[in-house]
Symmetry: C2
Subunit: 700 residues, 2 copies
C-alpha cells in the first residue's frame, strides 16, 4: 500500500480554512505554514480571498488543479460533499477531523460507512474521522490540531484517542524526545492500526513505535503487521477497555475463560509487542527504548548515593523477575569501591559524592560481563553537585549496555530533565518506574532472540475428521459430545480409552467384557451437557452384572430427571489410570482466529482461572512456554511426594489441537477436559471432550 500522498504529499488543501483563531480551520492551516511545509498549501473557503498570506479558493473544483491530500475541517454534515469534490481534483488521501460519526450512534455510523464507500470508489485513503490529524517531521508536514510541529526524531506515535496523542507529544517535548510521525487514527474508518504499523515498520526515520488502542479490527492482519514491525523496531502499545469487555456466552470452558482481554494478550505475546499496563508505563518504556540499547540479560547493577532508594530498586527488580548483581570483589578493590557495597548489593557512592565516583562505577559495570543493565540513582543531598554528576553520568553512556537513571525529587531535578534527555539518558522519578521500563526492554530483547518459528505437522487422518464434521454440519447437530469428540481427536493422534457405544444393557456388558474391567459408563445424549451433575457418569464398574444394572439404572434416572432428553445410549470405556488432570482447549476469536488454552485440572480452571492463551498455529517451544506461564506450573514439575509429569506430552497435545483447528475452521470451540497426563514417557489420555461447530453457510 502506498501512503505517500498522506505522509509526503506535494500539495495539501485545507477545506474549511478560517480566519478565526482557535478554530480547527485556522489552526491546521497555520500549523501547515508554521511547520515549514515545502509543498503547495491551498486554503478553501468561499467567503475569503486570502488567508495567512495565501490565495484562498471558494471550492476544490474552482481551484481546479490536482491535490494530493485534502484536510477537512468542516463539521460532520458537510464532509460527504467534500469527498465528492476531492474525487474531482484526483485527491489520493483525506483527513477528516469532525466528530459525530460512528462514536455518536447508529446515524453517525451510517454516514461514516457512506463516506468510506465513497472514498473507496474514488481511490481515496481516509484518515479519521474524529481525529487530530497527522504529523511527519521528515517532510515538515503538520496537518494536525496538535500544536506546533515537534522536534524531529525517531519516535512515532499513533493513537485512537486524539487527546492522548497531544499528551504524548507534550511529554516527548519535555524530554527532548524527537518525533518522526504522529498519526491520530480516530475512528479508523479506513486507515487502521494495521496500516499504520505496516507503514512505520518500513519508515526509516522511525526507530520506536508507541501506540494507544481501544479496540482492534482486522485482528489477523494486526498480528502480522505488529510482528513485522516489532521484528524491526520496538513497538509499545497501551490497550485500554480491558474491563469493559464482558463475559462471552460460550459452551466450553475455554470459550468462557477467553472472554475479556485474553485474545489481545495472546496477540501481543505472539507479535512481540511490548504491552504497557498504564499510560505512565507506555511513555516510560518509549523513553528507555528510544535512548538506550537492549539488555542482553536480566542482571542489573544499581549505583546510588543513598540507601533507601536502592532498596526500593532491589524490591522492584526482584518483583519484575530480574536480578540485582554485584561486581566482583577484585573489580571493586581495583576501583576502590570495596567499602561501598550495600546490603542490597548496590554500589553506594557515599560521603563526598563526586561525579568521578559515579563515572568510575559505571565504567566498571560496563566492563563486567556479568552486568546486563545499569541503574543510576541520584537523590538530592546537601553536598552533591547534581549538574556535574548528571553530566558525568551522561558522558559515560557507551551505547552497548543500557543505562537508566533515577533522579528523585521535584523542582530540584526537573529543570535538568531536558538536558539529561538530550544527552541520551532516560531518567525516571522513581526506581519502580525505571524498573518497569527495563522490564519492557528485556521482554522485547528476549522475544527478538527467539528461535525461528517452526510449526510441526503431525501425520493425521484428516479425511476421517472431514467426514464427521460435514455430516454433523449438514444435519445441524453442532454440539459434539464425548463420542464424536474422541473419534475426531483419535484421528489426530490423541490417545483415547478403548470403548464403545452401547444401546442396550446387553451390549454394554459385551463391550465391557471385550475391553476388560474396570470400566467407566457415561450417558450419551445431545441434550445433556453436564453429565455428572445428573448422575450420568459411573466410574469403576468392576463386573458384568453391575454393568448391566448400571445401564438400566442410569437410563432410568436420566429419563426421570430430563424426560425430554434424547438418549443415544451409554458409552462404555476402559477406566483411565490415574494421573494429573489438565484441560486443553481452543476457542475461535472472530478476528484473531483459533486461540489455544492450557490450564490445570478442575478447580484451577474453574475457581482460580489460572490459564494461558496462545494463538494457533503454535510451535513446540511456544506450547512449553504456555505451560510455564501458569501459576500452577510447579504442580507439573512435581513437588513433595509427586514426580513431575511429561511436559512434552502436553505440549504435543496443544500442537495437535493447533493443527486440527487450523485445518478445520468450522470447529468454533473445543475442550479436552480432563486430559489425563501420567509419568514421563506414558501416553496422556483424553478422558472427556466436547466441540462446537459452526453452522453451514446458508445456500442462496
Amino acid at each position: 500500500m502506498n501512503f505517500d500522498a498522506l505522509f509526503s504529499p506535494e500539495s495539501v488543501a485545507v477545506v474549511g480554512a478560517s480566519r478565526t483563531e482557535k478554530k480547527f480551520g485556522h489552526t491546521v492551516l497555520n500549523n501547515l505554514i508554521q511547520g515549514g511545509f515545502k509543498g503547495r498549501i491551498i486554503p478553501i473557503n468561499p467567503a475569503i480571498d486570502e488567508l495567512l498570506g495565501l490565495p484562498c479558493y471558494p471550492s476544490l473544483t474552482e481551484y481546479g488543479n490536482e491535490v494530493d491530500l485534502v484536510v477537512v475541517t468542516l463539521p460532520q454534515s458537510q464532509v460527504k460533499a467534500v469527498v465528492a469534490e476531492s474525487g474531482k481534483v484526483k485527491a489520493k488521501a483525506m483527513i477528516v477531523a469532525a466528530s459525530g460519526f460512528r462514536e455518536a450512534g447508529p446515524e453517525g455510523a451510517a454516514l461514516e460507512q457512506e463516506i468510506v464507500e465513497l472514498c473507496q470508489r474514488k481511490n481515496i485513503r481516509l484518515l479519521g474521522p474524529n481525529c487530530l490529524g497527522l504529523i511527519n517531521t521528515e517532510h515538515r508536514l503538520n496537518c494536525s490540531f496538535a500544536g506546533e510541529i515537534p522536534e524531529s526524531g525517531g519516535l512515532s506515535i499513533f493513537s485512537q484517542s486524539g487527546a492522548l496523542c497531544s499528551v504524548m507529544l507534550d511529554h516527548a517535548a519535555d524530554r527532548n524526545l524527537g518525533i518522526a510521525k504522529m498519526i491520530s487514527i480516530g475512528n479508523k474508518a479506513d486507515i487502521s492500526a494495521v496500516d499504520v504499523l505496516s507503514y512505520l515498520a518500513k519508515d526509516e526515520q522511525t526507530k520506536v513505535i508507541v501506540g494507544y488502542l481501544e479496540d482492534i479490527a482486522r485482528r489477523k492482519n494486526f498480528v502480522k503487521a505488529a510482528e513485522d514491525a516489532a521484528s524491526q523496531k520496538p513497538v509499545i502499545i497501551l490497550k485500554s477497555g480491558t474491563t469493559k469487555a464482558g463475559v462471552k456466552a460460550a459452551a466450553s470452558h475455554t470459550g468462557i475463560l477467553a472472554s475479556g482481554d485474553s485474545a489481545y494478550g495472546a496477540a501481543f505475546k505472539r507479535s512481540g509487542v511490548i504491552r504497557a499496563d498504564s499510560f505512565e508505563a507506555l511513555f516510560d518504556s518509549a523513553l528507555a527504548l528510544s535512548m538506550q540499547p537492549l539488555p542482553k540479560g536480566k542482571n542489573v547493577l544499581v549505583i546510588t548515593n543513598s540507601g533507601g532508594p536502592a532498596i526500593l530498586a532491589a524490591d522492584a527488580i526482584e518483583l519484575a523477575g530480574m536480578n540485582v548483581v554485584e561486581l566482583d570483589k577484585e573489580t571493586l578493590q581495583e576501583g576502590q569501591l570495596l567499602d561501598h557495597v550495600s546490603e542490597t548489593s548496590s554500589i553506594e557512592v557515599l560521603g563526598d559524592v563526586d561525579s568521578d565516583r559515579y563515572a568510575g562505577a559505571i565504567k566498571m559495570a560496563q566492563a563486567d560481563p556479568k552486568v546486563d543493565a545499569i541503574m543510576v540513582i541520584l537523590t538530592p543531598k546537601i553536598m552533591s553537585r547534581p549538574e556535574e554528576i548528571v553530566r558525568a553520568i551522561a558522558a559515560s553512556i557507551d551505547g552497548i549496555k543500557p543505562l537508566v537513571a533515577i533522579f528523585m525529587g521535584g523542582s530540584d531535578v526537573l529543570p535538568a530533565r531536558k538536558d539529561i534527555a538530550a544527552a541520551g539518558l532516560p531518567d525516571y522519578e522513581t526506581p519502580e518506574r525505571a524498573v518497569s521500563a527495563l522490564k519492557g526492554m528485556l521482554e522485547y530483547a528476549t522475544w527478538k532472540q527467539r528461535p525461528p518459528r517452526s510449526v510441526t505437522r503431525f501425520r493425521v487422518n484428516r479425511r476421517r475428521v472431514e467426514r464427521i464434521l460435514t455430516r454433523r454440519q449438514r444435519t445441524g447437530r453442532l454440539q459434539l459430545g464425548e463420542v464424536k469428540g474422541k473419534a475426531i481427536l483419535g484421528a489426530y493422534g490423541f490417545h483415547t480409552p478403548e470403548g464403545g457405544l452401547a444401546s442396550s444393557a446387553e451390549e454394554a456388558q459385551e463391550i465391557a467384557e471385550r475391553i476388560g474391567f474396570p470400566v467407566a459408563m457415561k450417558i450419551v445424549s445431545p441434550d445433556i451437557v453436564h453429565k455428572s451433575d445428573l448422575g450420568g457418569v459411573f466410574l469403576n464398574v468392576t463386573n458384568s452384572e453391575t454393568t448391566e444394572d448400571t445401564y438400566d439404572l442410569m437410563t432410568l434416572k436420566i429419563r426421570k430427571k430430563v424426560p425430554q432428553a434424547r438418549i443415544e445410549g451409554v458409552y462404555v470405556e476402559k477406566m483411565v489410570s490415574k494421573g494429573l488432570e489438565v484441560i486443553i482447549g481452543m476457542t475461535r476469536d472472530p478476528q484473531f482466529g483459533p486461540m489455544l488454552m492450557f490450564g490445570l485440572g478442575g478447580i484451577f480452571v474453574e475457581v482460580m482461572k489460572d490459564v494461558t492463551f496462545y494463538l494457533a498455529p503454535i510451535t513446540e517451544q511456544e506450547a512449553i512456554q504456555m505451560l510455564k506461564s501458569t501459576k500452577s506450573y510447579a504442580m507439573l514439575e512435581g513437588r513433595r511426594g509427586n514426580d513431575g509429569v511429561d511436559l512434552s506430552a502436553i505440549a504435543s497435545g496443544l500442537q495437535r489441537i493447533s493443527q486440527l483447528t487450523t485445518d478445520f475452521p468450522q470447529i468454533l470451540e473445543l475442550d479436552i477436559n480432563p486430559f489425563i497426563v501420567g509419568d514421563f514417557g506414558s501416553e496422556p489420555v483424553v478422558a472427556d471432550a466436547r466441540m462446537t461447530l459452526a453452522p453451514l453457510p446458508k445456500e442462496e
Copy 2:
C-alpha cells in the same frame, strides 16, 4: 513519653557548628537561624568565637547553662564525648547526624549501643544516628540538613531514609502541601517509628502522616501505636525490603508461608495503615488524603473532556474493586448533559469545553447520593482554556465528597500545579495514579467504619493443655504430632475423629471394632514428619482382619525404610466423612506475636500459596474477612454441582486457635492440615495436626 525537648525546645546547641558552607555544622546552624527559631541557639566550636552573628562556645561545658536539645554534627568518633558533655548541661534530647554506626558493621553497632546506653543513663532521648534531623514548622524549628524550612501545614513525614525525606519535602513544596513535622529517624537507635507515631497521633498540627520504613523493631508496640494514630488521622507507609526477607526455616506450612512480608501485611491491615506499594503511590495517597474528605462508598463518577483517558479511568476503577457510576437520566436532562454520557458511563464535556459545564457536572455529582467520589479529567485541547477550567473545578470543591483531578500532559499543565494544590485540589498525571490514591482513601474509610473489635472467649479446658505442654517442654519433646495435637485441639473445642493409639495389631483391631469401620490408620513416631510419603497412612480400612494385617504391614514397612525411627504405635481413628479440605495454622512472629493463617487445601497452599494472614487475637468478623480475601474464596461459597461450606465453622476454628495461641505463648507453630469442613451446620473435623513448642528457658 514527653518529646517536648525534641520538638519544641527552648534552647538548641549545635555541636560542630562550622563556618564552611555545605558542611553539616554550617547548614544546620544556618537552617535554625533562617527558619526563624525563637529560642536560644548556641553554636559550639572551640576554634571560633562568633558564627553567623551568634557567640560561639568552645564546648557545652564551657557554655555552662542548661540546653534542651543538642544537635551533633561531628563525625562518628566524636559523638560519645558529646553525649557525656550533654549530660552535664542537662540536655533532654539529642540529634546525631553522623553515619558509620550500626549500618556500617559490628564495630559501628557496638559504638551505637554504647551511646544509647550512655543516653539512657543521662535521661537523654536520641534521634538518629545516621539521620537528617528534624523539622517542626509550628515552632519554626529546622534542626535538619534538608534545606529551607518548608511552609507550615498538616502533613507530617517520617522516614528511615534521609534521602527520601528530602525527596518528599521537595514534592510537597511543588504541590504547595504544607508540612507539620519532618522526622528523619535514621538508625532508630532510641527514638523509633513507634515513638514518632505516638507523638504525631496526638499532635494537633498533624492531619496526615506519611512514612517510609525498611524494618520495624518493637513490632507489638508498633501495631498499637499505628492503630492509635490511624484512628485519629490517615497513616500511609511504604515498607521496603519486601524481597530481601528470605524464606524462613520452619517445620509447619504456616511457618514457611509466613516468610517474607506477610507479617507486615497483617500488621498494617490490623492497624489501619494504608500501605503504599511504590514511592509514587506513597506521595499520591498523601496528596489526596491531605486535601479531600474520605469517600463514603466505592461509586466513582468520571467527568472528562476526552474519551481515551475516561476509558483508562474506567479500567483502573474496576481493577481497584470500585465502581463507575452514572448519573440518573433525569438529573442529566436537568443539567442538559443527556447527550454527554459516554460508553464508559463517564460524562464527556465535549465540543466547546467550557468551565461552566465542568462546574455544572460536578454540582450534579455532589447532589446525587449515588456518587461517592468524583474524578475530573482534563486533557489539553485546542479550544480549552485550562486555567479557567481549573479555577472553576477548584471553586466547586464542597469538602463533603472527595474530588480528585487528572490534568494530563507535561509542561502545558505543570506550571499550574502549585495553584491547583493551593486551592485544595489534588491532581495527578494519569487516571491510574488518581485511582490508586482513591483506593487508599476508600480502604482507610472502610477501616474507620469497622465495628468495635470484640474477641470471643470460648469455654475451653485450659488446664488440660497446660499439662500436656508442660510435660512436653520438660522432656524436651518439642514437636507435637497428630495424637497430642488433636488432644490439645480437642480441649479447645475442636472436633476430632474418635480414635486411639494402638501398640499392637490386636489393640488396633480392638479400637477399630469399638469405634466402628471404616477406619484410618496412621503411624505415630516422633521421627517421622511426612507420614504419607513413607507409607505410614492407610485409609478406609473396612474390617477387623485387614486392621490387624495393616498394623503389621505398616510397622514393618516403616522399620525397613527408617530403621532408626522410634515407633510409638499406630493411631486408629474413624474415617472422616468427605468435605472441603482447608488449612488453618499459626506461626509466631518474634515481634508481632501469633499470626493466624488460612488457606484452601493441599495444592492451593503448596503450589498457589493462596493464603491470608492476620494477627491474633482475632474477632469473628476478621476471621470471615480472612476467608474472603483468598483468591479461592469462590470454592468456599460453592460452585456448580457443589454447595458452599459453613464459613462460620471455619471462622470459629480460627478464633479458637487465636485463643489457644494467645493463652499459650510456648506454642511457636501450629498446623491443622487438613481441617475438613462439611455442609452448613455440620461440625468441621481436625484430620491432622502438628505443633512446635518453645524450649523451656534455661534455669540459671
